[in-house]
Symmetry: C2
Subunit: 384 residues, 2 copies
Amino acid sequence: MNNDLIYLDHAAATPMDGRVFAAMEPYFSHDFYNPSSPYAPAVEARRRYEEAKHSLAKNIGAKADEIVITAGATESINLAFSAVTGHVVTANIEHHAVLSAAAGHDNTIVSADQHGLVPADVIKVAIRPETELVSVALANNELGTIQPIREIAQVIKHERQTRLISGNQTPIYFHTDASQGIGQIDCNVARLGVDMLTINAGKIYGPKQVGLLWAASHVKLVPQIVGGGQERGLRSGTENVAGTVGFAKALDLASEHRKYESDRLQKLRDKLQADLIAAFPEAVVSGHPKHRLAGHLHISFPKIDAERMVFSLEARGVLVATGSACAANKGTRSHVLMAIGLSDELADGSLRLTLGHLSTDENTLKASQIIIEEIKREFDRTSR
Amino acid sequence: MNNDLIYLDHAAATPMDGRVFAAMEPYFSHDFYNPSSPYAPAVEARRRYEEAKHSLAKNIGAKADEIVITAGATESINLAFSAVTGHVVTANIEHHAVLSAAAGHDNTIVSADQHGLVPADVIKVAIRPETELVSVALANNELGTIQPIREIAQVIKHERQTRLISGNQTPIYFHTDASQGIGQIDCNVARLGVDMLTINAGKIYGPKQVGLLWAASHVKLVPQIVGGGQERGLRSGTENVAGTVGFAKALDLASEHRKYESDRLQKLRDKLQADLIAAFPEAVVSGHPKHRLAGHLHISFPKIDAERMVFSLEARGVLVATGSACAANKGTRSHVLMAIGLSDELADGSLRLTLGHLSTDENTLKASQIIIEEIKREFDRTSR
């Protein structure tokens, strides 16, 4: 991007890290072989592909043969839902991919609280004897709220024990989409207590359209894309060696710098939030006050037209979002903001500011000043 | 790849063209935006994405809004089959992706002839009043045989007229996987007479895991991957701007150089074939003698173990295939060779030599000499 732009939309897309690009580059024109070919250079491409999968698996505390490489998080989520045919439980603040996949099943959509949190006891109440899948994202992509995944996992563990005792043989799985959280939160699958986990590379400075589904060995996935039998028959198609190697590098970097980066972003975000609230005490910060992604700030200004604001800020070189990029182009109010009961006025005045690698002390402070100036200008204009 | 290697496996994978890489490169780290974001740099990424789709569409004589970008040919084929629920017709020499997708339907698998050709009248006989889809690849990936797509299209057109007259309202679609042919054959969808067409970038010196499905506007596709509603709701997931721009560049280059390149490869292939047959008159060339991809040579040597041969040739720097890379690693005989009735002995002595951009007069001649030497050595060894 141009150096005179300040990017505050890391939740929508991230620039590829130079080290990721360097890792991928050999596999485009030089080591381009089909990993299923028999000669040594192709066997080497296969080896690098498998090594990348091992590295991805290791970073989430899993085994390589429990991972399916997909074309991004959406395909991974759809594949997770393919594991079941019966009743599913998810929440009204989930990503469209989860809600759309759930719509293909008998489902219960539970309500998040006003912070966008999905309490474990709400999930507990929604689970029926025939429920086969619970899917709750690790962190919400609009609000940044981090969900109590371990507590929900306990609920599901308890449900399994109950079924065991009562002789109910219906399996129940717990899936989490960790795409939005993996850069800032430890995603060890055993510690989270999930059965399936979705992540993608495009949100962690890796290539777009590369993701994975991890599924514990007891989960029976049903392939959506059949053919040559790649990925243990679970997802056919010639393997994306470059993309997978890049994904592995991106996750390595994310894991390595997670603590440092999330501390750094939290300080920047807290300062930005404090400055904006000091300037506009009537502004409302959404998302959980404590359990929230470090770089995430969702803030609503009463009587402000956020869509106009995006363009005013862009004219000053600051790129922000009104909400999820996936919904942003549709001219409809965010289902997440409706779900947490934000008033229409506040919803329409909402900005999502998400910090990341491109954020520095200097450019975040500058952005803060520009946002304050532009919001003031808009207040003056509308109150005239 | 190393310059001292001679690559004769272009049907398995192709090295990315430097011009394709140059077209993609800006979209990794610089113009990395989510095309659904509202600010100008993201709108520009969207514009480039749509422009790439227009360019892809134009190259096959279609409209951009009839195209769905997928993660490669296999997903595209699966999506094509999702358009129907009823009876499908395909042939016993088709790619595993087509055969696997067909296996999910009531199906008739017709037999190709000894050249791997699927005659239109064989398709005609297999079509029932309730048939909804016929899928025949433009060119076979193992033999290179080019199918009579236009004649089959006429059969389907005739079937439609018959149904119209008889009041049978079941729609019937014709799908072709042109992945293996598009680099060498004009793929104008109107001239081919198909309703759906699959191509991918990885076979035409573009990025892997990028493909498309073209479907005429009267075809009702059913999405396999649901979520944010990208690709007109037919295939959700954040768009792969870099990959799609690269795909468009690759297809542009393929279209531009198609005539020149296919003439060039045909001369090289014919010379290679003539040299090998002159040295081994008992060798058998499979695939149609006339209707065959220009760079394709499938040749079988009686009493030769082709798998050993692949490694002997590799030791001399020549990379060849025994068959399709997709089946090659499975230790089973190619279903294509069984389908055309090749004896087990010949099937086990089969090499697939596929020429392409990396082939020159010089290295093809050198490869020819090395193949002759190594086959002779193997004959000597086994007849001792």
